[in-house]
């Protein structure tokens, strides 16, 4: 059934871009901290986490290009995906494009994402698609350290001074509205779940809450109340922040297309 296979590949291309774009956009945000970290160890840690995410993004983009070639005959490379698409073509989660803010904001964003990312990659490591499985299995080991580190910081700030506790709680309260999107699949994702390729994010919500709640309890922080869930990133509807991020990230390739050094 070439028709069904082609349709599944179309969904897969979309799905791979979601994984890649979330990694890349978050890595770009972390890169904005270079030279401005609160202490040098954190400056280095943030960029190392960003480096892991860029590495994972490159693997997803590489496979996305191959899938695109299966569909259209030719596929884009990693640089074309990263530097030649506009905001509405990006498929990242809304959470990861949110600005760095204070260190508590950066840690809260990372913490919420890392625990989802770890669960998603572990689920994807069992994908029926061997390429997806091998990229995810590798990334899961890296994300385990990311989750451990961001959890340590949530505890350190939450269980810290009154000032640190207040900022950490406020950051969680602010970003919580973007967390729900991580657990809402659309039709394309459901089709891939049924084919055994994608992770069923609906099944990740309970273990995510368990992991997050355990850290919040130790951090003496309150889980924000469930409220309105902001969505749209995976379909290309972004907050205003993504455009600004891309303007900086893509400047060189936009001004000097195909520039190399």
């Amino acid at each position: 059934m070439p028709g069904a296979a082609m349709s599944l590949d179309t969904h897969l291309l979309e799905y791979l871009l979601r994984l890649a774009d979330s990694d890349l956009v978050l890595a770009q945000r972390l890169g904005e901290w270079v030279g401005k970290g609160p202490v040098i160890e954190e400056d280095i840690a943030l960029t190392n986490v960003g480096l892991d995410l860029i590495g994972q993004a490159r693997l997803w983009y590489g496979y996305a290009g191959e899938v695109e070639a299966r569909i259209k005959g030719t596929g884009r490379d990693e640089d074309q995906f990263a530097f030649r698409r506009d905001a509405h073509e990006f498929r990242n989660l809304l959470l990861v494009e949110q600005p760095n803010g204070s260190y508590a904001d950066t840690i809260a964003r990372q913490f919420l994402f890392d625990h989802w990312h770890l669960l998603a990659l572990r689920a994807l490591a069992r994908s029926q698609d061997a390429r997806v499985a091998e990229i995810a299995a590798k990334g899961a080991k890296e994300s385990a350290y990311h989750a451990e580190r961001s959890s340590d910081w949530v505890i350190r700030l939450g269980d810290g001074t009154e000032e640190a506790h207040g900022r950490m709680q406020a950051a969680l309260d602010e970003l919580w509205r973007y967390a729900g999107e991580m657990f809402v699949p659309d039709a394309a994702e459901v089709a891939l779940v049924e084919a055994g390729i994608a992770a069923d994010v609906r099944a990740l919500e309970a273990p995510w809450h368990a992991a997050v709640d355990a850290v919040l309890a130790e951090a003496t922080l309150a889980r924000p109340p469930a409220g309105y869930v902001q969505q749209g990133g995976k379909q290309g509807r972004h907050t205003e922040h993504l455009g600004h991020l891309l303007a900086e990230m893509q400047f060189l390739q936009r001004a000097y297309p195909d520039a190399r050094w």
Partner: protein, 191 residues
């Protein structure tokens, strides 16, 4: 004046001559492994890419020598440098038709690091990694639910050490401090 094409042909001919001087185009696999064992890791030059477990397989095929390597971390910036180093070492050993390909599965683990290399890491001031296999399944879920690694100071051997940062000079290392001799040191994280 010569054209770039002529230069390239001349260089290839020189390499082939050097290969021929070494007794033919197909050194034994033992000789190949010996050559690869002299390729240092760009970040930690006291250990070789073979000792780190980065070189997964070497075999002769009809198309030439096939070398399979695996990256340590997805974003390790040394990956391309390592492939270049492998090609250069193989050219020195007389192999000019090596195909270096990257494989992701099974994912690299620090459990593949050879025992001799662990001793070299410690002598270099980097605490060698503990068992990764035992750690990976539980890590990251909650800091409450697992014990921290016991890490011995590579300088004085004390296990009274404290984690300063989960990421040190590279993604694969954490920064620790020894509470006995007070020196900071890198810990090669189990991965």
């Amino acid at each position: 004046m010569t054209t770039p094409e002529q230069d390239a042909l001349a260089a290839a001919a020189t390499q082939a001559d050097r290969a021929a001087e070494r007794g033919g185009m197909r050194p034994s696999l033992d000789a190949i492994w010996d050559a690869l064992a002299r390729v240092p890791d760009p970040e930690i030059p006291v250990v070789s890419v073979v000792e780190l477990g980065i070189v997964r397989a070497v075999e002769w095929t009809d198309a030439g020598l096939a070398v399979r390597v695996t990256p340590t971390y997805s974003g390790c910036p040394a990956t391309e440098l390592i492939s270049d180093g492998i090609r250069a070492a193989l050219a020195d050993a007389g192999v000019i038709d090596a195909q270096v390909t990257t494989v992701l599965s099974p994912a690299w683990t620090t459990d593949w690091i050879a025992p001799e290399a662990r001793a070299k890491l410690a002598a270099f001031g980097i605490a060698p990694p503990g068992r990764a296999a035992a750690r990976i399944d539980v890590a990251g879920i909650s800091p409450l639910r697992r014990a921290r690694d016991e890490v011995a100071c590579p300088r004085c051997g004390s296990t009274r050490t404290a984690l300063l940062a989960q990421f040190g000079s590279t993604a694969c290392k954490a920064l620790y401090r020894c509470e006995s001799c007070r020196e900071p040191f890198d810990y090669f994280k189990p991965h």
